[in-house]
Every structure is written in C-alpha cells, then in structure tokens.
C-alpha cells in the first residue's frame, strides 16, 4: 500500500470535446495501466451510448501507478468527467473526490462557457488547477491567444500552462510531472476516524448496488462493518476493489486506505438506501462529523415518461430507481395521463440529459417508452389567491381561474465570436430575452450576459447558438427569478384526439408560430397510413394551426411469386414489430422517435 504522501487525486475537466477522454487514453498508456493491444480510442467512454455519440456522459475513475523521474512510485487516481453543461453535476461530484484538476483548453477553440463554469467549480472546492492547452497539434492552434484567455478570463497565470496533445502524446510527461509536483497529497488523511465519500453509484446486474468511494481517512476492507452517516444505516462490505479501469477486486486481505479511490458493494438491497454524497464510517468507531456532502441539484426540465406497453409500468419503475442511483440529477414521480396511462413525471438538468436518460432506459432496461413535451415549473396565482406550481402543461388550471402565471428565467452568459453579436442578439430577442452587460475577452470574443425565460432555451436555443456561431459559441447559465408572463396552454390534436404528450405552455404572442411549427413537424414525423390524418394546434377550443397528412395511396409489391413469399413474410413481420413499438393514439400510430424529434424543430 502506497504511502499517503505518494498518492494524487485529480480529475480532468474542460468544455465539451476539448479532449479530456483522449488525453486520459494517453495517461493510461504512459503509466502502463492498459496494455497496447487492449487500447482503443476514448477507452474510458465505456457505455455504448458514450461511444456512439462520442461524448462522455458519466465520470469515469481509474487508478494508475506512475514511476516519477525521482524514482518514487505514485498512485494516481484520475477521474475523466463529461463536458456538456447538462452533466456539470457529475463534474462537481468528481471534484469533491480530488485535490487537483487538469483544466483542458482546446488550442483551436479557446476558453468556452464550460471551461469557465468548471474552473469556477474547481476553485470553489479549493482544488489545485493545472491549466493544459490541449490539441496543440491542430493546424489552427492559437497557443498565444489561449494563454491570454487563460489569464484574462480565468485569472490563472499562463506560465503555469502545460502544452499537450492527447492525439500525438505531446506533453504527457509534463502533465504527469505537474500532477506530482502541483497537486497536494490527499487532504484530511489524519482525521482520527475513517471517513469515505460516496461520489457515485451504479446498479450492476451481478453485483447489485456498487458505490464509488474516495477514502479520506482510515481504511476499509472486506467484511468491515460500516455505517452510512446520513441515516445511520449499518451494513457490511461484501466486495471491495479498484478501477483499473475495469472494476477489479482487491487481493485477499487488502483494501483501500486514505487517499484511495475504489468501489464497494454491501449487503444493502434497497436502492433508495444508498445516497450519493453520503459519508461512510466504521460502525465500531464512527466519525463525529461527515464530509461535506453534495448540494442537492434541482432539475429544471420536466417531462412525462410513459411505457408504450402499459403493462411495463412496474418494470419502468424499477429501472428508474436503478438509474436514479447512478444519476442523482434525475428525479421521478408517478403520474398518469388519460391518453398515455400510468407513467412518471421526470426532472432533468437539460434536454440532452433527458435524451440520454431515455436512451439508457430503452437500452439498459429494454423498455419502449415515450416522453411528453418538456416543461419547466410555472408558478400560477389563482383568482382565489392560492398559488400553485405546475410542471405539466396538462395540469394547467382553466384560464378563467388564473390570475397570473410566472415563469422561471435564467441568467446566461453567452461566449461568442464578436462577429456574430448581431445575429445572437436577434436570437435572444426572438426568445424573449433581455440583454445585460457585454464583456470583451479579446479582439475576437465577447461574453454576453442575458436574461432569458427558461422555457425558451429548452428546445433549440443551444443548437441555434451553435449554428449561428459555426460551433464557436457556447453558453452557461444559472437559474434566476420568476417573472409574470402572458402564457397559454396549447394542445395538439391528431384526428381530433388531443395528444397530451404534445401539449405545451407557450407565450401568447408565439402560440400561432409555434403551433404551425409543431403541426408541420408532426406531419413529417407521422407515417402515412390508409387514412387522412388531421393535425391541429389549439388553444382551448380555438384551432390556431392545422396540417393534413394525406392518406397513403400505394403500398404494394409489384412482383410476388413463389420465391417471394418467405421474403415478403419477413418484411411484414418486421413492419408489424415496428408498429407494436409505436404509441396508438385513437386510430393513429405515433413512432417513438416522434416524441423526441418533435423537439428538434428548426425555425
């Protein structure tokens, strides 16, 4: 077991796509943690979904051994984190398990919104920050410009920056040296009792509940009697191990000690009994004070999630409990809908977060689900003086009983190239935003501070920001005040039947435009069938937009002889299977994708 002074705990943080996972690959290689033949690109992105999308969704810890030039062997615990704003909660949890952070800045992109946001998180946790200018191999690398930004925007001395490329391996040695020299050894290691932080959890089909732990003081091994400090629940360590990067059980008699990162499983069966952010201590000699836990995150976007097959409700419930274990930012609560049956109202940090959770439910739990149009939480003052919160458009009270509706707003900082200010201002206006301060970073970039209604950024704000700025713009935001606003509930009717999944709250002035957009998009998404389908948007009884999906006129295979029967059968079977996975609303089948694709309307 390494001396606590020879351990370093750090995470890799950055804006999305600045190369964290690729740089981790090089660190794993350089320290011999992974054999050459087992190496693959973005190795730590181990979920299928991560590999397909090329983004990190979960933080991934790994322990490596590094022989420093001074001859000492160090145990390095590194955590690769996601860069997308929706997963910043993952980052803050990882930071709490570390003493230092590698802050990567893409030499071609420069400092972006999540660079600033994540750097701030690290500073607030008192971590040592090592700035790394990454991707210096890029032909468009602007190292001097990035140095300047690091000083100006992040207030970190640029001389401290390491130049590196996760692609070519430049600077990997410098990074390892910087980690050893600049990241302090594990803190709070001499606290008299054992304390370890649960910084993540997963449900594993074979192992059950697996807790990711960072040991701060004391040690832990197999069969130890431990206690969860939040509620005093006692249990026993059933398995203990490290991430190498796969979960690898400790050798007999060995365990984890101060400064180590690893995992444990316990005899706890009930998923709700394990809380991320909880402190574990020893039952025999409990600590008096827990470690600083995590601030509970508040979801900002809400949607209903329903099983396509109503008999899957229980299965969906169990899968949500398991997912929640691994994703504390996701919340859910039972609800039901006339059209969709029993399901859950779920809270997410953003739209990508919602998409990812839904995709994980589909894949990891093999369930067919649909979601309703996303909503924020509205505060509704009724004429009788009561105030209620509404997170589901369907629950919006009758307009005659409403005095005022207030909606949440956000304070956003938009990091954009100076040349796109005009177009971005127009976008902000269109989204009912108000502009505040403008900060000039350098000749090329500005930060625009704006206030926007949260419901306006849910759907396509980020995509539009990206497209206007050709990928160079980014944003970060915090929740701000509730503001009274002229909002109405808009319903979508398919052949006269309202589809609650598509109901939404919109600003009065934008209802007609939005209604047209939704109808047109639905017309694109619904498969033609043997009937004509009317698609309408309505406010109350008043239809404000309509489209007609014409009936399919021809669907027949010209040639169909003896040899074609088997093939035709297979085709029909596949189609039938596809139909089963659609949601039946009245006489119309709506494909699952429609429920997510409808959100991707581009104006």
């Amino acid at each position: 077991m390494a001396n606590v002074l020879n351990k370093r705990n750090f995470c890799i943080i950055a804006h999305i796509d600045h190369g964290k996972t690729t740089l981790s690959d090089r660190l794993l290689e350089a320290t011999g943690a992974v054999q050459k033949r087992e190496m693959k690109d973005q190795l730590l992105d181990s979920m299928d979904l991560e590999r397909e999308r090329g983004i990190t969704i979960k933080s991934h810890p790994v322990t490596v051994r590094y022989k420093h030039t001074d001859g000492t062997e160090y145990e390095l615990n590194l955590i690769d984190t996601p860069g997308h704003v929706d997963f910043s909660y993952e980052v803050s949890r990882s930071l709490a398990a570390c003493e230092g952070a590698l802050l990567l800045v893409d030499a071609g992109q420069g400092v972006e919104a999540q660079t600033v946001a994540n750097a701030t998180l690290a500073v607030n946790q008192n971590l040592a920050i090592i700035p790394v200018i990454n991707k210096v191999d890029l032909p468009g690398a602007d190292i001097e410009g990035v140095r300047h930004q690091i000083e100006e925007i992040l207030s970190i001395p640029a001389d401290d920056a390491v130049l590196a490329s996760g692609k070519t391996g430049i600077g990997i040695g410098d990074i390892l040296t910087a980690v050893v020299q600049r990241v302090p050894p594990p803190r709070w290691a001499d606290y008299p009792q054992a304390r370890m932080l649960i910084f993540d959890c997963v449900y594993d089909a074979f192992k059950g509940v697996v807790c990711y732990v960072r040991v701060f003081s004391g040690s832990i091994k197999l069969n130890d009697q431990i206690m969860m400090m939040s509620d005093g629940a006692k249990t026993e360590v059933k398995e203990i191990g490290r991430f190498s990067p796969k979960m690898t059980a400790c050798a007999a008699g060995e365990g984890l000690s101060a400064g180590d990162v690893g995992y444990i499983t316990t005899s706890i069966k009930d998923l709700s009994e394990v809380k991320i952010g909880d402190t574990i201590t020893m039952t025999a000699d409990p600590a008096a004070k827990p470690l600083i836990g995590y601030k509970a995150v508040k979801p900002m976007v809400f949607t209903g999630i329903y099983p396509i097959d109503t008999s899957d409700y229980e299965k969906l419930k169990v899968s949500m409990a398991k997912l929640r274990l691994n994703d504390a930012a996701f919340t859910y609560q039972a609800e039901n809908s006339v059209a969709l049956g029993f399901g859950f109202r779920c809270g997410f940090l953003g739209l990508l977060h919602m998409e990812i959770v839904m995709e994980r439910i589909r894949r990891e739990y093999n369930l067919d689900i649909i979601s309703t149009y996303p909503s924020v939480v509205y505060k509704v003052k009724l004429t009788d003086g009561r105030e209620i919160e509404v997170d589901n458009p369907v629950k919006m009270p009758d307009p005659s009983t409403i005095d005022t509706i207030s909606e949440p707003t956000i304070e956003a900082s938009l990091h954009i190239p100076s040349g796109s200010i005009g177009d971005i201002l127009a976008l902000v206006m269109e989204k009912r935003g108000v502009c505040g301060r403008t900060e000039t970073i350098d000749g090329h970039r500005v930060i625009l501070h704006v206030t926007l209604p949260l419901n306006e950024i849910l759907i396509d704000f980020n995509d539009r920001l990206k497209s206007i700025t050709k990928g160079y713009g980014s944003m970060d935001y915090d929740l701000a005040d509730y503001v009274a606003s002229k909002l109405v509930k808009m319903d979508i009717l398919v052949n006269g039947d309202p589809v609650d999944a598509f109901s939404c709250i919109v600003h009065e002035d934008k209802a007609v435009g939005r209604g047209r957009q939704l109808c047109a998009k639905l017309k694109e998404l619904l498969p033609q069938s043997m009937f004509k389908v009317a698609i309408q948007a309505a406010i109350g009884a008043k239809v404000i937009a309509r489209e007609t999906l014409s009936a399919l006129r021809k669907d027949v295979l010209a040639k169909c002889y003896g040899g074609d029967i088997t093939r035709k059968r297979k085709l029909l079977e596949k189609q039938k299977e596809g139909k089963k996975r659609m949601k039946q609303i009245g006489s119309v089948s709506i494909p699952q994708e429609a429920f997510v694709s409808i959100l991707k309307t581009n104006t």
Partner: protein, 378 residues
C-alpha cells in the same frame, strides 16, 4: 389440414443464366459459361430425377435468369428431365425468354416438348430506356420475337412490361401499353420498378444519382395501367397481371392460393407437404448439394395451419377475385376465422374491401394498399 390432399401442384425450374445483368435485376443469375451450363444441366437433371413428386404436376414454369439462352440441344435435355419429373405433359408450361433469345430454333424445340406458354421480357418499347436499363435488345427484336412465337404455333403469349422506370413519363408508359396491346398477346404482366439493394440501380440511388418515385407517383402509373388494359379487353386478375379471359397463368394463381410447388435449380423456392424452403442461391453451392445428395437449402420452415391460412388470405387478396373465406376455413379449420371476418368487415368499412360474409376482395384502392392490408391479418 388438407394441404397435401389433391391440391394443385406446380413445378418450377430456375435457369440462372443471363448474357448480362440488367440494371434493375435482383434475381439470381450468372454468365452462361459452358462449364457452368454443363454442370447446371447435369445437376438439374439429377434434382428432377430425384424429385419424386407426390402426384402429377399440372403446371410447369421455367423461369430465370433466361431459360431461352440455352442452346436447342440443352433445352431438349432439360425438357426431357422436366417431363420425367412432372409425371406427364402438363396442362400449362411457361418458359421465360428475352427478346434476343426468343428465336425459331429454340421455340421449335420448346413447342415440340409441350411448352404451351411463352413469356417475353419486353420491359419497354423505348430504345433509350432499354439502353439505360442495360437490356441487350432493341424494339425491332421484340417484334421479331413475337412473330417467332406465333410462327412456332404457341398460342399463349405473355409480355412483361415495367413502369415507373428512371426518366419515364406517364405518357411514355401509356404509349408502351398501347404498343403492347397492338401486338395482341393473350397475357400482359406490368411491374412497377422496385429497386432492391442487390440490384445495380441501387448504387445509383445510394449515390443520389437517382431518386425514388413517391407512392403517389407510382399510384398514378398503376391506375393508368389498370384503366387502359381493362378497356382493351385484358381482365386484371392480380396486382400486376392481365389476361384475355381463360389465359390467366394457372401456375402463378396456385402460388397465391397457397397450393404446392416444387422448385428445382439454384434459388428456386418450394412449398411441398408442410415445408417451405429455397435452394441455395448460388450455382456452385446448389450443384454441390445435388451432387452429394445433400441439398443446400435456406429459409426452411415447417408450415403450420395458422401460417398457411394467413398467407392464403394475405397473398390471395392480391388476386382480383380475392379469397373465399368459407373455402379457406374448410382447408384450414383451426384458424381464427372469426377474427379474419372481423378485420374483413373493418376493411369494408374503410372502403378498402368488399365483403359479403364469405368472399373477401379488395377494392381498387385496397389493391394499391395490399401490403398495408396484409399487416392487418399478420
């Protein structure tokens, strides 16, 4: 189940040789190299000899590929073996040909052997379209071929035509139809172009050099075809097939009626007894199987009553006469016919079918949506 008791039996022989692959074609075919043709003939003879059909085959169909590409002597060999297997002279014996190979010497052999029906793959009467499809014939050759069939004394002639071809307008198609009608065949098949992944045209689609027609466009072609041929005295009896009364292709009718057929040659499909399968779609693999006495087959399924009953409805509805549910109920008594009748009434309510409680037939609109309708019964 009364499948094997005294139901019609057909014999299909696949001749997999073509001079060149047409752009739209997804059938199994190879160039007619002498060694391959020899091996094919020997193996087809053996497969036919070992077939031992349960009863006489009333219909024979030589399809391809291009059966008429075989030399007269080869045709004679294959005909001899076919007659040996069929258990006597069939009532209907069709041979597919291309215009360039549909010639007097071969037709004489065929006529002599007992062939009653010749099909010519005309596809189009437009030289530019023919060239674009990679067809190896001209319109002049089509006239010659038709003349040759008549001169050979073959009284049942079919012309295969295709529509919704790349660049083809509705007017051009109408002209093709009129030319075909003027030639006076007893039977006309009209196929809407379908582009499968294995067809050379697919590559053009994938590269964006060709775009698919919309269902609406295709529907317009279909309807024009149906109107025109009916007016000219060709009765439609299936989605793509038209004939003067009494000249319907019985062999094909029997497949849509889910009767029985035995397939010989690579890629040939069979439905015999309670089994459905296809021979390997590869000359060498098929031949090896025959030579070893261990047939190379794919997609083999044991048919149960529900499958056959469903297929009899689904494929039967392609025919204009539709299906006689009472007759099918007698053939497949254990099927849930009440459910079929319920669906039938639903289709009638939607204007897609006519149903009198016993016989179910699709309306014109229903026939254009036969695949969607099929899903209802699946």
């Amino acid at each position: 189940m009364t499948l094997s008791r005294q139901s019609a039996l057909g014999l299909y022989v696949h001749v997999p040789f073509c001079a060149r692959r047409c752009e739209f074609c997804a059938f199994y075919e190879v160039p007619p190299r002498r060694a391959d043709v020899e091996r094919y003939l020997a193996c087809a003879e053996r497969e036919l000899a070992e077939l031992h059909l349960p009863r006489r085959a009333e219909t024979v169909f030589w399809g391809g590929g291009t059966p008429s590409i075989l030399a007269p002597a080869d045709l004679e060999r294959l005909a001899g073996a076919t007659l040996g297997a069929s258990g006597g002279t069939p009532e209907e014996w069709t041979v597919e040909t291309t215009p360039a190979t549909c010639r007097a010497d071969r037709l004489a052999v065929l006529k002599n052997s007992g062939v009653t029906r010749v099909s010519i793959g005309v596809q189009s009467f437009d030289e530019a379209i023919l060239a674009g499809l990679g067809r190896l014939h001209t319109t002049a050759q089509v006239s010659e071929a038709i003349g040759a069939v008549r001169a050979a004394g073959i009284g049942n002639l079919n012309l295969d035509l295709m529509f919704a071809l790349p660049g083809q307008t509705l007017e051009e198609w109408e002209r093709d139809l009129r030319t075909a009608i003027a030639a006076g065949p007893e039977h006309i098949s009209t196929y809407c172009l379908t582009i499968e992944e294995s067809a050379p045209l697919f590559a053009r689609l994938a590269r964006g050099r060709l775009s698919r027609r919309t269902p609406d466009e295709e529907a317009a072609f279909y309807e024009r075809t149906w109107d025109l041929l009916e007016a000219a005295g060709y009765r439609q009896y299936e989605v793509s097939n038209f004939a003067r009364p009494g000249y319907e292709c019985v062999h094909n009718l029997n497949t849509w009626r889910m009767r029985e057929w035995a397939g010989v040659g690579p890629a040939a499909a069979s439905q015999l007894g309670l089994r459905r399968y296809a021979n390997a779609a590869n000359l060498a693999r098929w031949a090896e199987g025959v030579e070893k006495g261990a047939p190379a087959r794919t997609d083999e399924v044991i048919l149960d009553e529900a499958t056959l009953a469903t297929d009899a409805v689904v494929f039967g509805l392609r025919m204009v006469e539709g299906v006689d549910l009472a007759e099918l109920a007698a053939r497949f008594p254990s099927h849930d016919w009440a459910e079929v009748a319920r669906k039938a009434s639903e289709l009638e309510g939607q204007g897609l079918a006519e149903f009198d409680g016993r016989s179910l037939r699709l309306t014109r609109r229903g026939r254009l949506l036969a695949d969607e309708v099929a899903l209802e019964f699946f």
